[in-house]
């Protein structure tokens, strides 16, 4: 049991990294990765929302939609749940933990349309994970996103304002080429899962 949970966690952080190998959550990955502290804040907020969203959508899918034969409503229900949840988390944080809200608050509304959150909730259902496995998978995906964001923010801090880059490559093109190289390095983790427990 614990073994399989660790495998799920490691595989979603390193091997099947949502951002770098499944291309989910590219918008914030390119948009909010200019500074390391911003990237960290966004990553933590996404991780929290992913875990909470999975904890809410999994029971809804299993006990409500599947029971009533309404599986086709999955997309609509999930996106509404995520949108509501993000608002809810923001209101709760603002009221009870203002300090945390101040540092993470600006990233929260940006998460609603982050496709990684909707992607992870749908994938957990289609992969047939049980509740605990789903939570671990969501946690792994969030941590993988955080890792990718922080690493990439480090790379970008070197690229920003570098005058040696050809004019037409400056900005987005060189950012994407840098992302390509970061993603290449993550390919090196392929095969780690099979050998994790000998």
């Amino acid at each position: 049991m614990i073994k399989s949970l660790i495998i799920i966690l490691m595989s979603s952080i390193l091997v099947n990294n949502y951002t770098l190998s499944k291309f989910l959550g590219i918008c914030p990955f390119l948009g909010v990765s200019k500074k390391t502290d911003q990237a960290t804040g966004m990553g933590i907020a996404v991780t929290a929302v992913m875990v909470v969203a999975t904890a809410v959508t999994w029971p809804i899918q299993t006990y409500v939609l599947d029971n009533l034969g309404l599986g086709f409503l999955q997309t609509i229900v999930f996106i509404l749940v995520i949108a509501t949840l993000v608002q809810f988390v923001e209101i709760v944080l603002k009221k009870y933990i203002p300090a945390l809200h101040k540092s993470l608050g600006v990233y929260l509304p940006l998460i609603t349309t982050n496709c990684a959150v909707l992607g992870v909730t749908i994938n957990n259902i289609s992969d047939g994970y049980n509740f605990i496995e789903s939570i671990f998978s969501a946690l792994g995906c969030g941590l993988g996103f955080l890792l990718a964001m922080v690493l990439f923010a480090g790379v970008r801090s070197v690229l920003e304002g570098n005058n040696k880059i050809p004019k037409r490559l400056q900005g987005l093109p060189i950012t994407l080429i840098a992302a390509s190289i970061v993603s290449l390095s993550f390919m090196g983790f392929g095969g780690i899962i099979e050998n994790l427990f000998g």
């Binding site: 996106i79 496709c115 992302a179």
Partner: protein, 238 residues
């Protein structure tokens, strides 16, 4: 008048190309372009959703209250996405399996919500439909181009048909994740060279043009976009 309609239609294809100039909808652009067939299917599915949602949102633009417009748009879009999902599952199950989770993720494709915010909620139904067609075609063509480069040079096949004389020069890396980022970056740079860097800058589209358009607008539902916070304008300036 006729010219104006033509302009709306063609705007999306190059001048305001959603992927290469507005940089919206990056996730599907990178994810489904490993092959030509999946790229075109994704493009057409998005086109269908975009046109339908633009028409409905434009028709309801005076009915939907400004404060709840984003949730309302999301529900409309999710409805059409579900319809497309069910149609594909029934009539083209191969395509449905190929696109997998990315089909459902059309809901959070920034192009659709972005166009709803930028265009459909201030223009007539006909103009919005044309804008949807133009943007959809622009999106499909760009996906086709990406898919073409990645499949022909990465796998030396064209839509599944082998091209033997290219086989010795195959670059399999193009079909994997790093190749996707690379091809996309090079394409954007080529467009910048082609248009001599005179394409509209991100900022001129305001907050709505940023990759996080929808959420940004949601963050301040009802408040005009130029009231954006410092952090958010930084986000817009990719």
């Amino acid at each position: 008048m006729k010219n104006n309609k033509m302009k709306i239609l063609t705007n999306g294809i190059l001048k305001e190309n959603p992927v290469l100039v507005l940089v919206l909808g990056t996730c599907p652009t990178l994810a489904v372009t490993t092959g030509i067939v999946s790229a075109i299917s994704m493009g057409l599915a998005t086109l269908a959703v975009l046109v339908c949602s633009n028409i409905v949102i434009s028709a309801l633009r005076n009915v939907i209250s400004d404060k709840i417009r984003i949730p309302a748009y999301i529900v409309i879009i999710a409805g059409f996405v579900t319809a497309v999902q069910m149609l594909l599952q029934a009539f083209l199950p191969d395509v449905y399996d190929m696109l997998g989770v990315y089909l459902a993720l059309i809901v959070v494709n920034c192009i659709i919500l972005g166009r709803a915010e930028m265009f459909a909620n201030k223009n007539s139904v006909v103009d919005s439909a044309l804008d949807g067609v133009g943007m959809g075609i622009g999106f499909t063509l760009t996906l086709f181009l990406m898919g073409f480069v990645r499949e022909v040079f990465g796998n030396s096949t064209f839509a599944g048909i082998a091209i033997p004389f290219l086989a010795p020069f195959k670059l399999p890396i193009l079909t994997s994740a790093p190749g996707g980022f690379f091809v996309y970056g090079v394409l954007i740079a080529l467009v910048a060279i082609f248009t001599k860097g005179e394409y509209p800058k991100k900022k001129s589209f305001g907050c709505e043009g940023c990759p996080s358009a929808a959420s940004c607008a949601k963050a301040q539902a009802g408040i005009p976009c130029d009231g954006a916070k410092a952090e958010e304008s930084e986000v817009a300036d990719v």
